[in-house]
Amino acid sequence: MNNQKQINFTGMRKPAMIISIILMVVSLGALFTKGLNMGVDFTGGTVIEIGYPEATEVEPIRNALTKAGFDAQVQHFGTAKDVLIRITPPKEQLETKSAKDEIARIGDKIFTILKADNSNILLRRVEFVGPQIGEELRDDGGIAMLFALAGILVYVTLRFEFRFSVGAIIALVHDVVLTVGFFSITQLEFNLTILAAILAIIGYSLNDTIVVFDRVRENFLQLRKASADESINISINQTLARTIVTSLTTLLVLVALFFFGGEIIHGFSLAMIVGVIIGTYSSIYVASSSLLMMGVTRESLLPPEKEAEGDEDLEMP
């Protein structure tokens, strides 16, 4: 049926699996030993971005803040004119009203102090997250992820079969662990936008996996003589061009976002770029390999009563 070269993807599933497992172990190891460099969204604290009229040194700013009694991290942000100051809140519980008011005003105070030294500075951004809110955002993020996975599990089970949804989830967990692992190893800041990126990666990787699965189902029903192994391999090959082209166009816009989207969106686009690459790999190797490992065969998808070949249950618009 096909005169194109077939790449034996399923034959390479053992080495691919070994690579995936090694990467997973490295990611999890990094997560447990180094953890994530959580941003104020999750730790609580204050971030102030200040724009100077000309390139400025970080050291004098740090000294001025230390003198005023602040334990602050100071670094350039994007350009040498922009400075990002980060302050982690005290660990102890805040009970009194004045203490609670005080901590919410750290940003204003720091700006006042620095403005006294240079009246031309601009307040570009203040983010203050109370300690309790940080905890809540962290929990909500985790819950969102679980809900997304559960919703997907249900849909894929309904449209395909339970083992397909397990295969999709394995691929998703693989992608999420590796992407989070990337943030752990590089110690890049992990904040709310990164979390949004990871949820978007779930959507993207799933999209990719579903396309392959859809073809697997079609081929299982059509290629009666082929083994499950062969059917899956043919399916991956048939969808390969699409997988690569779509990943390429998505990467094109993400690269545009990375270079031209500004500092704030930097982390988001980087996470997405990493996730799209991993997601493309996983929909080729991980998702389908898990189908084979779980012993999915032609029979698992056959409807109880015989249907006409190529019968599509969805109509054209």
Binding site: F128, V253, F259
Partner: protein, 630 residues
């Protein structure tokens, strides 16, 4: 083969036109502006004010580019070139206009009239794009329970007295009340009547001690919930009023959950000023007016009669009030605007038991005398010392907002009359209800974006959309040739439709929202890639050009539907679980997926059918540029 019915073309054209119409206003960017309204809501602002302001602006050489007048004369909007000019202009305008008019920083749309009449408006920009402050405030709810317990304590006392049930005392023990009786029989009777009175609000349990026979009264969860709800509502009203008086445009104040309030203030440049304003507490006092002395004389000579204090009315004139406070705002439990028997606007005030008793005594003795309502506000001013330490100073502002003649002996409920208009009575009732914050609030989250960063974000977001979009267009044109160009048309329409959707529903566009659009652009071509790859495959399988197009669209459809629905699930979960910025991303992603299904399947098919449908085609122009063809 491959012909589309006419109605599909009509649908496509109509959708495209509607999309273009509603996306169009976004080509006219909003400009920095200053809005002028009269402090008194009944006053109008007209040409004289325009001339006055223009003169003041010309003196400072920051003339306004354009002035929008409201047909009802309620407001004037002056347009400026830059945020800097806008700020300078506001200062100049405030100086020139004085207290009778309020100014507010604003972003004015420059949408042409014909689009306005079609109700087409540009997208709203989020705080991260236009600059502004976002606060999440938490209300200290221990106060809610304290207040409820205090109220019930008073109520129990008078209730038991009315029922002639002798009790030894009512006291508060941590989170509940204990009523102690001498005799068990009285306690039992009290329990029965109290239970009947407070069926859903309070639970009563016997609790005996060496002091006597006790009755433990615990608030039910429902009662606690209602008390919290009440406090939260009170605080929202207070905050809204406080913010309205700051002259900010479009402040958004919303409840979030049971204990939190979200405050969003677009265009605010300095969050610290707003914080001072919000955390300052305001209250009311009732005092008798010293009618025997001349306040103007007292003010000019500086010799104030003993037993009196000099205050200022809102219109600026001095007034002498008695030193003794009859009543403070703490005693007011409710205030509502209404009309008296002569159809004059009035405010109905309800006091708590203690306040009512005291008020009845004092007013009974002072009928036909003037009583003043004093508005008191605490503010904190922060200054910096030479050594870099911060100095915080509390200042108290006192202002007489209302003077009225006491008509009768007043007690628990009374009316304040002598107001000029229903608007004034509504305002006063709101003032009285709002008064002080019902419970302290803490800022638990702040996100401030300065105007310079907002402008940078818009520019960066816009650039990345355009660049990403063009890269994809180029790639598709080279890789799929004629089919690629068709996909590009669909992609452009998709972008127009996303913008139109966001504009029609007046959704707020944020930076993550722009990221969502960019991502959608990348993913929207996926549907076309699926279809085109399928067509190529069918061609390789030996199908004719026409059959391959038909079969390619048909077979790809279920795959596209599956893939997009799963992504949609992720987007919906993101929206449901996420907060502001994440929701913005989810919204654009979901809209993008939905409209890409329309443009990529129906849209491209319509054009492909126009090009190839019903003709004899030897070769489809679908192969990459470097391969030539099939």
């Amino acid at each position: 083969m491959n012909r589309y019915p006419l109605w599909k073309y009509i649908l496509l054209v109509v959708v495209t036109l509607i999309g273009l119409l509603f996306a169009f206003p976004n080509l006219y960017p909003s400009v920095p502006a200053v809005q002028v309204v009269a402090t008194d809501k009944n006053q109008t602002v007209g040409n004289t004010i325009v001339e006055q302001v223009n003169k003041a602006l010309t003196e400072k050489s920051i003339p306004a580019n354009k002035v929008d007048t409201d047909p009802k004369g309620k407001s004037l909007v002056f347009h400026f070139d830059s945020p800097d000019a806008q700020l300078a202009a506001q200062v100049a305008m405030n100086k020139s206009l004085g207290n009778q008019y309020k100014t507010a920083l604003n972003l004015a749309p420059t949408t042409p009239e014909w689009l306005n009449s079609a109700n087409a408006q540009p997208m709203k920009l989020g705080l991260d794009l236009r600059g502004g402050v976002h606060f999440l405030m938490e209300v200290d709810m221990t106060v809610a329970i304290d207040k409820a317990l205090d109220r019930h304590k008073e109520e129990f006392r008078s209730f038991l007295r009315d029922k002639k049930l002798r009790y030894k005392g009512v006291k508060r023990v941590s989170d509940h009340l204990v009523v102690v009786f001498k005799e068990a029989a009285v306690r039992d009777e009290a329990r029965t009547v109290l239970k009947r009175e407070y069926r859903n609000d309070i639970e009563f349990l016997d609790e005996d001690s060496d002091k006597g026979f006790g009755l433990k009264a615990t608030l039910t969860p429902l009662n606690i919930k209602n008390a919290k709800k009440f406090i939260l509502q009170q605080n929202i009203i207070t905050l809204r009023r406080k913010l309205n008086s700051t002259g900010l445009t479009e402040p958004i104040i919303q409840q979030q959950g049971l204990e939190r309030i979200v405050v969003q203030l677009p265009g605010v440049q300095d969050p610290s000023i707003v914080k001072e304003k919000l955390s300052g507490t305001a209250t009311l006092e009732f005092r008798l007016v010293d009618e025997g002395n001349d306040p103007f004389q007292a003010k000019s000579t500086g010799s104030i009669p003993s037993g009196s204090k000099l205050f200022t009315e809102r219109n600026g004139s001095p007034i002498l009030l008695k030193r003794q406070v009859i009543l403070s705002g703490d005693s007011i439990t409710n205030a509502a605007a209404g009309f008296d028997q002569n159809q004059q606007p009035s405010v109905n005030i309800t006091l708590d038991a203690k306040g009512a008793k005291r008020f009845a005594r004092v007013t009974g003795k002072n009928i036909q005398k003037l009583m003043a309502v004093v508005y008191i506000e605490d503010k904190y001013i922060t200054t910096k010392n030479d050594d870099g330490t911060i100095n915080k100073k509390r200042i108290t502002k006192k202002e007489v907002i209302n003077v009225a003649r006491i008509q009768d002996r007043l007690s628990k409920r009374f009316q304040i009359t002598g107001l000029d208009s229903p608007q004034e009575s509504h305002g006063l009732a709101e003032d009285l209800r709002a008064g002080a914050l019902a419970a302290p609030v803490y800022i638990v989250e702040e996100r401030t974006v300065g105007p310079s960063l907002g402008a940078d974000n818009i520019k960066a977001g816009f650039n990345s959309v355009i660049i990403g979009f063009i890269l994809v267009l180029i790639f598709m044109a080279f890789y799929y040739r004629v089919f690629g160009l068709v996909a590009n048309l669909a992609l452009t329409l998709n972008l127009v439709l996303i913008v139109a959707f966001l504009s029609i529903f007046q959704a707020t566009l944020t930076l993550p929202g722009i990221a969502g659009i960019v991502l959608t652009v990348g993913m929207a071509v996926d549907a076309n890639v699926l279809i085109y790859e399928r067509i190529k495959e069918e061609l390789r399988n030996g199908l004719t050009s026409q059959a391959a197009i038909h079969s390619g669209y048909e077979k790809a459809f279920s795959t596209i539907a599956d893939a997009n629905i799963t992504t949609l699930i992720a987007a919906i979960v993101l929206f449901g679980m996420g907060t502001g910025p994440i929701q913005g991303f989810a919204t654009t992603l979901a809209i993008g997926i939905a409209s890409s299904m329309f443009t990529a399947i129906l849209g491209t098919r319509a054009i492909i059918n126009l090009i190839y449908g019903g003709k004899k085609v030897a070769k489809l122009q679908i192969q990459p540029f470097w391969k030539g063809g099939v």
